[in-house]
Each structure stands twice: as C-alpha cells, then as structure tokens.
Symmetry: C2
Subunit: 225 residues, 2 copies
Amino acid sequence: MSKCEQCIIKQFNSLKALTKDELVRISGCKTSRIIKKGEIIFDEGETLNGVFCVKEGICKLSKLSENGKDQIVKMVVKGQLLGQRSLISEEASNLQAIALNDMEVCFIPKSEIFADLQKNSKFSFEVLKDMAHDLRDSDDIIVNMAQKSVRQRLAETLVYIRDSFGTNPDGTLSVLLSREDYANIVGTATESAIRVLSQFKKEKLISTVGKYIKIEDLAGLKRVE
Amino acid sequence: MSKCEQCIIKQFNSLKALTKDELVRISGCKTSRIIKKGEIIFDEGETLNGVFCVKEGICKLSKLSENGKDQIVKMVVKGQLLGQRSLISEEASNLQAIALNDMEVCFIPKSEIFADLQKNSKFSFEVLKDMAHDLRDSDDIIVNMAQKSVRQRLAETLVYIRDSFGTNPDGTLSVLLSREDYANIVGTATESAIRVLSQFKKEKLISTVGKYIKIEDLAGLKRVE
DNA sequence: AATAAAACATGACAGATATCATATTTAATT
DNA sequence: AATTAAATATGATATCTGTCATGTTTTATT
C-alpha cells in the first residue's frame, strides 16, 4: 500500500500541514478503497468515523429534500477531503456522497484526525480555512438560488464545472453529468434542465459530443441573463 | 470598561474555550462599541481586522446580488461572533452586516484571535465546530431555496425566527423586520412577501400587533405547503 | 440480436412568482 | 400641524417554471 508521506495528493488539502511523523502514523491506519461510478460512499444520516481523502475521481454531495428530490450541494474532486464537516460537528452526515466516476479514496479514522487537530494547530488552521472557503461558496450559492433564473444558474454551472474540473483534450467538460444531475445542481425540474440545455445548443453556446458537453461560447454563457 | 474574563456573553461562543490569561489579554485590547439600528457594521468588500463579539442586539448579514437585490444569508444575535469567516480566510468580507436594532459589540483585533488559534487548540476546535454548524445551516438553506415555494420558505422563516430569537411577553416575535427584510431572507420580491404575509393573516396563521408579528398557529405554519 | 429499461427530448398547459401600477397607511421631517 | 417620504397593501398582467403526457434515443440486460 502506498504511503501518505509520499503521496502527492496531500499537497492539495489540509493534510499538507501535517508533519512527517504524523503522516507516517496516519499511513499506518488508513485504508484505501476503490469506489465504482454510481456507488454510494456514505448516506444521509450515516455516522462517519473518519474522513476520506480523494486520490482519484469525483463525487457529488447531495441532500434529499422533502419533496423527494435530491439537491446537489457540492462536488468533491481528487485532492480534496470528504466528510470533514460531519466529523468535526460529530453529527450524522447531512449529505449523501455518490461517485460520479470510478474513484480511489483513502479513509482516515476519526481518532487520527482528532489527535492531529489537538496537537497540530497549523493543521487545524488549514481545516478552518478550508471550511471558511466552503462557507463563502455556500453564501454565493444561496444568493444565486434566490435571485437568478434557471437559465442563468445553469449557464453558471457549466462555467463553474469547466473552471473547477477542467476539460478533455477535445474541449468537452471532463465531468460527465446526467441531465438530472444538472437539474439537481441548479434546483429545477429535469425537464427544465433538458430544455435549457437544448436552447443553449440552438444558440450555439454549447455543443455535445456523445454524452459530453462542450462549451462553444464561454463569453456568451457568462453573459446569459 | 467591562472585562472579558467576567463577561457572561462568552459562554455562548467559542471564546469560552479560552483560558483566563488569554481572556485577560484580550480584554486589554478589545474595544467596545455601540451601534444604532440600521447602521452598517461592516460592508461587503471591506477588510476586517478582527471579530465582533455581540453583547446585545441582532444584525443581518447580506450579500448584494447582481440584480441589485440584497439577499440575507444569516442573522447574528447576542452571544455570537461576527466576522470570523472573513478573518480566517484573510479575504475581504463577502457580506454586509447591518444592525436590526441597537447593538453593543466588542471588537477583538485579528492578532489576538490568530495568536489564540495558534496556541489554544481547544479554542480553534470550537471555532471549527461553529463553522461546521454554519455550513450545515447553509446546506439546508440551499435546499430550501431550490426546492420550496415562497409560501413555504416564508412560513419556515417565521418559525425559525421564533425559535432562534424568541418572543416578547405578548407573544410577538422579538425581532422586528420590514417586509423587505422578509423578502430578502426568503429570496422573493417585496410585494410577494407582503402578499403571502397578508394571506397568512387571513388564514389566521399569524396576526400583527403594530409592526410586530405574532404567530397564532404554529402547527399550521409548519404544515404550510 | 432482441428486449427492457433508462435517459433524453419536446409539446401543452397550469400554477407560481415577478413586475408594473396605484392606493393607502405609517413614519419622518420641516 | 403640514408636508414629504417611506413602508405596506392590492390589482392586473406577463413571464417563468413545474407537471403531465408522449415520443425518441441511448444504454443495459437477457
């Protein structure tokens, strides 16, 4: 099994603040896991006994609303930590995590994380900064949800996915989402998401290559009202 | 000037994790301030050089959206800290804070907070828990915004305000908000908020005493669809 | 390859909400 | 007390979005 102290992934998250000794210790009790596309990593209401460090792949974090629809709240990609919020507040998870493609994650037990939060203030400050960042993102999402149209939100989502998760060599968005996923990010009906995407296509803002979406007119998408 | 180590307010926020010595030190460099209703505590884009500990009163945190409307993202009341997110991420504030009634706050300089975050892991863990809690709240708000009707959101807002900020002796909500404020919490047009509140009144879910709102049928409000 | 199931697409329509217009009431200012 | 400004209220209308129905395409399964 690969060792945390040599893993490059940690450079991208709070674990970079840990000392070599701490990493060695964590390495000794972490477990690696392969998760298939579509698989549930953890469910809403489940108690997390640690955090996941995402080595490969991407997943969606969603919450079931009372009307039976999933709302995607965040996406977590290679390099990031998963489950830290619930771990810290010591509550059951308020979100469900599902892999959007094949993933590789390392599971680090709660006891290790808590020990390091106690001892290493640099580490806890990194986690704090991470969380502060998430909180700012959430504020933006709230404002968008409240004040913008479905058309605007979907356009922004496409740009966001491009900026955050990148594109394939042919220019298509590297993250493959179903129309239902798009609807669940934007907070609209699946039919509405489909309709708006069709419109974007007609307006030459995007094109599709198989199931993949390609942004053809980035400036145009950003201008959508 | 009153002393932090004797102040009861700190019991309600992360400052309770500080040692007596740390509190004495903070006490020495904090500044107390009275803020009048309607006054701006800090503005969007402003750099915060510390946090505010709210000794009395309540304020709203809002963000201006591109269409020129304010979205209220959170309310901060007596006992809570204000501005911690921006301080930690060392960015300009993404929110504006305005007093909803006369307030008394203590300002604690950034250097003090940072020093304690470095030294006192119990303190930084408390801040972490606070932030984790806020993040969970934000998730809930996102889901509500995306999936619920204006009517539902407004009903929930009234219940939330009752539960979080309490009532006056006559049963009216102790926090006095304009119809525009309600609209800015719910994320709707002021006219729509007014209309829905009028309906609630007709349906005997609420009543008004002057400018104050009284919840007459709590169960009914919770049942609103 | 055939069949079933899921995902995508589009039309028709109803309902929710925003916008604009205009009163009316309440609060602030002179 | 008179005047002005702000907040509240309500109607009319247009627009956006959700829902239901139906058809097509793509993917999975036998």
